[in-house]
């Protein structure tokens, strides 16, 4: 056992209202510079939909993530030790900016300067790359709320295993249903980007597991962009460096929540430390598709177990971080209650951002021709008639394993009925107890899940461990070295090379 700490995340999708506040909070802080306009370290996608960059989940096109070898190990799809050199002059699987979108602004001055005439002046869209007028053809939320869904959502790669009638049934206009999928870097335990970087510019921080790009070591070989299956490493075309979500580590280090977490209107986001066994990384990443979720859960260790605590201390995890892990909401949702699932575990990067799949759109179905309703006669039975097929959800969250999703949804339903029986009183206690027996939840667990889902305080959602920067090597140096510098560790201005 080799115990490490990971600052881990959980998003509760039933609570996401798709307002994009998280995206804008992030953009305003980190990617409001030339070369980064097209980057959305945090983005929110409508599902079903093609996402950003378009069809990012289609690894036959982008070749992100890992594949299983026969012998219980994994290899990157996009690169390896040999191709790291032979493809360095041109990478066959690198997305281009057109796979994302060409960033633009408007020539607002035209509205004021246009000569008097019969027509209203318009502000033309101009490219933020060339400055020339462009016709906008794509954007970061182009198919938001299923806009143009017959063109966009129909191409969602997660439909791959659904039959044509199932797909068609989905797109009947009156019966459409969708949900939102906010995405940031997963700060994976087996990151493809790190393994792909020939320069060794990407690394995982030992103490908290945050994955970063060292801007001074990056040489624009671009393998990280190809190798990340979530397309969450971005190439800054201006500076010639790759950039990615840094989980707002300067905020975390001062005990504050990352911007996207802090600003979340629906309060869907949770953050906390989990302890995991780093010795299991490779064999877990090489597990069969339908075991990936369970095996990843098994890697996460019980922070109350004395043996784990002893080993964690031996492995250099600070006792204050272990204490923080004991209060972690992510631990409770992922491991204790087994409610939260990783996004596309079949990419085998062991992502550490977990999602509670949305129950509401799954259960929604038409009654009386115009109202959505939930089947009130047989609660679990309504899953069979799910509006969004369980198969689709399984393609997203469990590598195709439908039983994990059914278990999760049944637990969510149980909590819902438990509260309904107490608050509304139209569900019998026997019925609720029957559900609790089936899902293995106790009344206390139901109450705690309810409280942490619906009524959590700020400090219950974000349990930020002490980052102990006082141990950091750079602070052992002369503080005046860094006087009058800007940013985090930059000497001089980060301008494009000669």
């Amino acid at each position: 056992m080799n115990v490490r700490a990971q600052v881990s995340m959980m998003f509760h999708l039933d609570k996401c209202i798709g307002c994009h506040t998280c995206s804008l909070a992030c953009k305003n802080i980190w990617t409001d510079r030339e070369g980064t306009e097209y980057m959305w370290w945090n983005n929110v996608e409508t599902k079903p939909g093609t996402g950003y960059p378009t069809r990012w989940e289609d690894q036959d096109k982008y070749r992100g993530g890992w594949q299983k070898n026969g012998n219980g190990s994994v290899h990157l799809r996009a690169t390896d030790k040999l191709r790291g050199f032979t493809n360095i002059f041109h990478q066959p699987y690198l997305p281009t900016i057109d796979d994302y979108y060409e960033p633009w602004t408007y020539r607002y001055g035209d509205l004021f300067d246009a000569p008097a005439g019969d027509d209203q002046p318009t502000a033309r869209a101009i490219s933020l790359i060339t400055g020339a007028p462009i016709d906008i053809e794509a954007g970061p939320i182009w198919d938001d709320d299923m806009g143009g869904s017959n063109i966009y959502a129909a191409n969602d790669p997660d439909f791959s295993e659904l039959t044509e009638p199932e797909k068609q049934a989905f797109f009947e206009m009156e019966r459409m249903v969708f949900f939102y999928l906010p995405r940031i870097c997963n700060h994976c335990l087996n990151p493809g980007c790190v393994a792909a970087c020939p320069s060794g510019a990407l690394y995982k921080r030992g103490e908290d597991g945050i994955v970063l790009v060292n801007q001074n070591v990056c040489r624009a070989w671009r393998y990280c962009v190809s190798a990340c299956p979530y397309k969450k490493v971005y190439y800054n075309w201006k500076s010639g460096k790759s950039e990615k979500c840094i989980l707002c580590y300067p905020s975390l280090e001062s005990g504050q929540a990352p911007a996207c977490f802090h600003s979340c209107v629906g309060r869907i986001r949770y953050l906390g430390v989990v302890l995991y066994d780093a010795d299991l990384i490779e064999e877990t990443a090489a597990a069969p598709d339908d075991e990936l979720v369970q095996r990843q859960r098994e890697m996460i260790l019980d922070p109350f177990d004395p043996a784990v605590i002893a080993q964690a201390k031996k492995d250099g995890v600070h006792h204050s971080v272990i204490e923080s892990a004991q209060k972690s909401p992510v631990y409770r949702f992922v491991k204790e209650w087994q409610l939260a699932l990783p996004l596309h575990p079949e990419f085998r990067t062991l992502p550490m951002l977990f999602y509670i799949p949305p129950l509401l759109p799954v259960l929604a179905r038409m009654e009386d021709g115009d109202t959505y309703n939930v089947d009130a006669t047989d609660y679990f039975g309504s899953l069979d008639k799910a509006r969004i097929p369980i198969k689709y959800m399984a393609n997203l969250f469990t590598g195709g394993n439908e039983s994990h999703l059914v278990e999760t949804f049944e637990k969510l339903l149980t909590v819902r009925m438990f509260k309904r029986s107490g608050e509304v009183g139209d569900v019998s206690l026997e019925k609720v107890e029957e559900m609790m027996t089936a899902t293995g939840l106790t009344a206390e667990a139901c109450e705690e899940i309810y409280r942490l889902t619906s009524l959590p305080t700020f400090d219950e959602r974000f349990v930020i461990p002490p980052m102990h920067r006082e141990y950091a090597t750079e602070l052992m140096g002369d503080p005046y070295t860094f006087k009058a510098e800007t940013g985090f560790g930059f000497r001089g201005k980060p301008v494009r090379g000669l």
């Binding site: 690198l94 690394y203 190439y235 090379g497």
Partner: protein, 228 residues
């Protein structure tokens, strides 16, 4: 001092000093600027037909120059049999032409794409022009002044060694055809340009990737204690 002395006796030292001092200066003062500055993200299809032939072509040709510089006798020995000479010269010419064609395509690509102009600096233009002149002069020399692989060992190698020994023997090169002289001076111009252009990506060849473990974990506490 004659012009030839200036060109072949003095300028090489200026170029070497600029390359060495410039590289150290840039590396220590501005590591952030070290990058291959790839433009594949903005345009990928034409890049393939330019970048791949250019890089493989120039790498093989440069390796040939290096071998002839370090092991002139081996080259002369190999060239002793005509068929072997033809094979060597033929291959060298093919890779040289690959480099010229690739570079020309890269220049055309850059000229035709407004996105790429946004990421083209003055030094990029200078570098592309010098490189184009240099590879054209090289291929010209290979075609019209045969057989370069043999006389390189007899003239260029001793000349280059004489520079490294601080006794520049300009007589070896001062009577060469002007195209060959252009190629020699061009080589030193490129050396001098190295630290002041995107050519620095040559110096950051990621050889460590060959033996590095796939995952990189950095501990700020352990590193202070000297652990892994």
């Amino acid at each position: 001092m004659t012009f030839a002395q200036l060109l072949f006796g003095v300028f090489p030292y200026v170029a070497i000093i600029l390359a060495v001092v410039g590289t150290f200066w840039r590396y220590w003062s501005d590591k952030f600027s070290y990058s291959s500055l790839s433009s594949q993200f903005l345009e990928t299809k034409q890049l393939f037909w330019g970048s791949v032939p250019w890089h493989y072509g120039i790498l093989v040709v440069l390796t040939g120059h290096l071998v002839a510089f370090l092991f002139p006798r081996s080259i002369l020995g190999w060239n002793g049999v005509p068929i072997r000479l033809y094979i060597l010269e033929g291959l060298a010419l093919i890779f040289g032409i690959l480099a010229v064609v690739g570079l020309a395509l890269l220049i055309v690509r850059r000229l035709n794409n407004p996105r790429l102009w946004k990421v083209t600096s003055t030094m990029d233009v200078v570098l592309l022009l010098v490189l184009l002149a240099q590879v054209i002069a090289g291929v010209w020399t290979a075609i019209f002044y045969r057989w370069g692989s043999s006389w390189f060992a007899a003239f260029a190698t001793p000349y280059l060694w004489s520079i490294l020994k601080f006794q520049p023997d300009i007589a070896l090169v001062s009577n060469m055809p002007w195209m060959v002289q252009t190629h020699i001076v061009g080589g030193f111009v490129l050396l001098a340009l190295l630290p002041f252009t995107r050519l620095v990506h040559l110096l950051s060849f990621p050889y460590e990737y060959m033996w590095r473990p796939p995952q990189v974990v950095i501990w700020y506490r352990r590193s202070r204690l000297g652990g892994s």
